[in-house]
């Protein structure tokens, strides 16, 4: 029962903050609401018994990525300025489509979710289990994905540097626009 109460608190928080995140006029507020959503999601992982995932969600997502966001927002926005949205008809169309999608997906879930409600056990995954699975090469072990991910990260680092790097020419021009 406690779990259910915690879950519904988290669920309400997630719903509210995610909607706020997308309708807020200030970008810093949006980012903050996103942070709340991510943290609440971490709480859901905790409820499910995935403590490692909880830790990663908090440290990488809510920690690392959010810091990136905030820095980027500082770099590209003048503080206190409202964010412009699309024209009215586009907002209505988007709202319509989102609600329609929500209803359709909800319908599908409702029709198919009955019967698969059992939560079989929640024994804690040990770090040893996780480590073995991540660095093993057997069935349901993920060394290949892990290595792929490391390559992807490397590629991302290189790509991000390459894209964001200033060329010599626009150093002079962009001095005034840069912070």
């Amino acid at each position: 029962m406690t779990q259910q109460i915690i879950f519904y608190l988290l669920a309400i928080a997630i719903t509210a903050f995610s909607i706020l995140a997308v309708i807020s006029k200030r970008i810093v507020r949006s980012a903050t609401y996103l942070l709340f959503v991510l943290l609440a999601t971490a709480g859901l992982y905790m409820l499910l018994g995935y403590y490692f995932l909880f830790a990663v969600q908090v440290s990488v997502y809510a920690g690392g990525i959010m810091v990136l966001f905030i820095m980027a927002i500082f770099l590209t926005h003048k503080p206190g300025k409202d964010i412009r949205t699309k024209k009215g008809w586009r907002i209505h169309a988007s709202l319509l489509l989102s609600v329609a999608g929500l209803l359709l997906s909800g319908y599908i879930i409702l029709n198919n979710a009955i019967g698969i409600v059992q939560f079989i056990d929640k024994e804690e995954l040990t770090m040893q289990q996780i480590g073995t699975a991540m660095l093993g090469t057997g069935k349901q072990q993920y060394l290949l994905s892990f290595e792929m991910m490391s390559i992807l990260l490397l590629a991302c680092i290189v790509g991000a540097i390459l894209i964001a790097r200033k060329t010599k020419n626009d150093k002079n021009e962009s001095n005034e626009t840069e912070l």
Partner: protein
């Protein structure tokens, strides 16, 4: 409907509840992606969508295949991918800002026919 959301007998929280939460995050993200002009805001929306996917991975793993860890690992990897994607996207956004003086998607219309 009620017994689906609050189950007193067995499992603490039914799967459907988790899914509805993830659904709401997902479509909130979609809505934000469609309506915002600002690239940072669009990126935030994309993060919401990815987050919704993560929740689904974890939930399905826990409820349907509790003995295995695939879903959890996919959620882990998705977080890593989200980090990559954010890094690159932010690099691009900074470049856009540098070239156009603001970070709005309306600048990027090269695909116009």
């Amino acid at each position: 409907m009620g017994e689906l959301l609050i189950d007193n007998a067995g499992a603490p929280v039914p799967i459907l509840a988790y899914q509805l939460v993830s659904l709401i995050i997902f479509f909130a993200g979609i809505y934000g992606f469609f309506t915002r002009r600002n690239l940072m805001m669009m990126l935030i929306s994309v993060e919401l969508i990815l987050n919704a996917a993560d929740i689904n991975f974890a939930v399905f793993n826990r409820y349907l295949y509790p003995g295995e860890m695939d879903g959890m690992f996919f959620a882990l990897f998705t977080i890593a991918i989200a980090a990559c994607e954010t890094a690159v996207a932010i690099a691009i956004i900074i470049n856009v800002y540098r070239n156009f003086g603001n970070a709005e998607v309306d600048n990027l219309k090269n695909m116009k026919g």
